[in-house]
């Protein structure tokens, strides 16, 4: 029996495959997430450089290519929130920016609350917790972090005072956030260790040590520090109840506690893409338009009274999959997401503007990289350069040998100390006085040079 042998054509010589590029079905897999009715498919990013090597396509990232393709388009920008598109970036980086926005951008928030009097129904700790969550309208870049050993001074602390009472016979009083008064000179509560009136000319020591008043600094002289919103209810007081406290605000990051997060939230989504696989006309078109709860589809007249469905607003699609529910609809409509187009939304709590927040987040990622690449100092990278060798003189006296190696024992980690003893001892026996060089940085113990004196 004869077998018909069809000539084998390599896949990139096929007539419909453009050379150097992927065939369209693979390109679809690489750049789009297909949202089918049960689950999304092709969600992984095929982003390693050798992915399509067998097809002759270079998938590696070239910085020039990235620079040409990367775009940012701002859709909406107000003082409190912004929405913008980033096109041409990968999910790993978009997620890194989102994580930094939420957890690693510093802000000022109230941390220590010194309560002098609290006769309200709100417990001390609940009151302190609520005060911590009040957003403050102050640029955190003007302040420094305060560690436990630091003294609270004008560079790392902001002091607020709250004194509110409800008189007997009047109705209930709401304590709002605008009653938090800023004290630019620092704390007014004196330390309990101070003896009263010991020296009337000197200022008693308080809980903070401000060297100068904060409103003498140029940043604060015209815009006083205060909470962002004036109408936040902190507590409610009944007749005869009083709250008197001082609150100290310090700089921190969202990683430690959510009160220090500068964004209400920040999120991103990939751009949805709705594609009509077949022409949808007449009644089916009407049905489709009615199905979608966010009105993605529209009817278009194509003359002679015929109607056709078009995709009018794919960006507002929430991927509820209502349009592919039911019999056979998934052959008419394809729901996809574009893998490298991210719609970012940032809602700021008020300390900084949202565009400043994003810029700071990118700077923080850059700083992390810089710190990491600085750790690759020459001593880790030594392959070809000579490692520093330390001569150890072994003399005939046993005590000397012992003493030397005792010192080295604590220097060299993970070296087999006994091995050195034995080896050196043996060498000494065999060759008399030697100079033995030992490579300090090697994880392995090697006798590198044996030379007699």
């Amino acid at each position: 029996m004869e077998e018909k042998k069809t000539p084998k054509i390599p896949v990139w010589d096929l007539p419909d495959v453009p050379k150097g590029k992927l065939p369209p079905h693979l390109e679809l897999q690489r750049t789009r997430v297909l949202c089918t009715s049960d689950a999304p498919t092709h969600t992984e990013n095929i982003r390693y450089s050798g992915a399509y090597a067998s097809m002759g396509v270079d998938n590696s990232l070239r910085l020039g290519h990235f620079r040409d393709n990367f775009r940012v388009e701002v859709i909406r920008l107000t003082e409190d929130d912004m929405e913008f598109d980033m096109i041409g970036i990968d999910a790993a980086l978009a997620n890194a920016f989102r994580r930094i926005l939420i957890a690693e951008l510093p802000t000022m928030a109230i941390e220590k609350v010194l309560i002098a009097n609290n006769t309200s129904v709100i417990q001390d700790e609940v009151l302190a917790h609520r005060l911590g969550l009040v957003p403050l309208r102050v640029d955190p870049r003007l302040f420094e972090y305060m560690s436990e050993n630091d003294v609270p001074n004008e560079k790392n602390t902001i002091v607020f005072k709250l004194h509110s009472r409800c008189e007997r016979g009047s109705s209930r009083v709401k304590v709002l956030s605008n009653e938090l008064q800023w004290l630019p000179r620092g704390s007014e509560f004196t330390l309990s260790t101070e003896k009263p009136a010991a020296d009337p000319t000197s200022r008693p020591r308080t809980y903070t040590s401000f060297n100068c008043s904060q409103d003498s600094l140029p940043d604060f002289s015209n815009n006083p520090i205060g909470p962002k919103h004036d109408d936040i209810i902190i507590a409610k007081l009944g007749p005869g109840q009083e709250i008197e406290l001082e609150a100290h605000a310090v700089k921190g990051m969202g990683k430690t506690h959510a009160k220090w997060s500068p964004v209400a939230t920040a999120w991103y989504r990939m751009l949805p893409e709705v594609v009509l696989l077949q022409e949808i006309e007449g009644e089916k078109a009407e049905e489709l338009v009615k199905k979608c709860p966010v009105k993605v589809f529209d009817i278009e007249d194509i003359g002679k009274g015929r109607k056709r469905a078009t995709v009018a607003r794919p960006r507002s699609c929430t991927l509820c999959r209502e349009c592919i529910r039911g019999d056979d609809w998934d052959k008419h409509v394809a729901l996809r997401r574009v893998k490298d187009h991210f719609i970012f939304t940032i809602e700021s709590t008020g300390a900084l503007n949202p565009e400043v927040l994003f810029t700071e987040a990118v700077k923080i990622l850059e700083d992390k990289c810089e710190r990491l690449s600085a750790l690759f100092s020459p001593h880790l990278l030594k392959q070809k350069t000579e490692s520093p060798k330390v001569p150890i003189f072994v003399t005939s006296g046993d005590l000397r040998i012992g003493a030397f190696f005792f010192e080295i024992r604590f220097f060299l980690k993970r070296l087999h100390f006994e091995f050195i003893f034995i080896l050196v001892g043996t060498c000494k026996l065999l060759m008399g006085l030697e100079t033995i060089m030992i490579d300090f940085y090697a994880g392995e113990c090697q006798i590198l040079q044996l030379a007699s004196e």
Binding site: Y48, F66, V72, L77, L365, L375, L381
Partner: protein, 108 residues
């Protein structure tokens, strides 16, 4: 802080780096830039325990020393971030100008 977990002096092309005080934020971005480098045959990261802020990054290359390749990826990531920042700032400025022009056109 960085420590090298597995390395040998004979074969510099593979290593596992353990970074402290880091999490998915930097590790995933580094893994992305490492993957793009054609010299890398394998790269990945793992977090041994979620309560410790420690990340292990494994790099295997086609011959170049692993630490060099990692350092180059850090530099690449820095360049990408700088480009992102400048493009974003430009886009914000353009948007504000456009909004200003629109406001002027709508006004009397």
């Amino acid at each position: 802080m960085i420590t090298v977990l597995t390395r040998s002096y004979q074969d510099q092309s593979q290593a596992t780096f353990s970074l402290t005080d880091e999490d998915h934020t930097l590790a995933n971005s580094l893994r992305f830039t490492l993957n793009q480098d054609p010299r890398v045959t394998f790269c990945g990261y793992s977090i041994p325990h979620p309560s410790d802020a420690r990340v292990n990054i494994r790099v295997q290359t086609t011959g170049d020393p692993a630490s060099e390749v990692l350092k180059d990826s850090c530099q690449d990531l820095m360049l990408i971030c700088q480009h992102v920042r400048s493009t974003f700032d430009q886009a914000v400025v353009e948007f504000k100008n456009k909004k200003g022009l629109d406001a002027m056109n709508i006004g009397p």
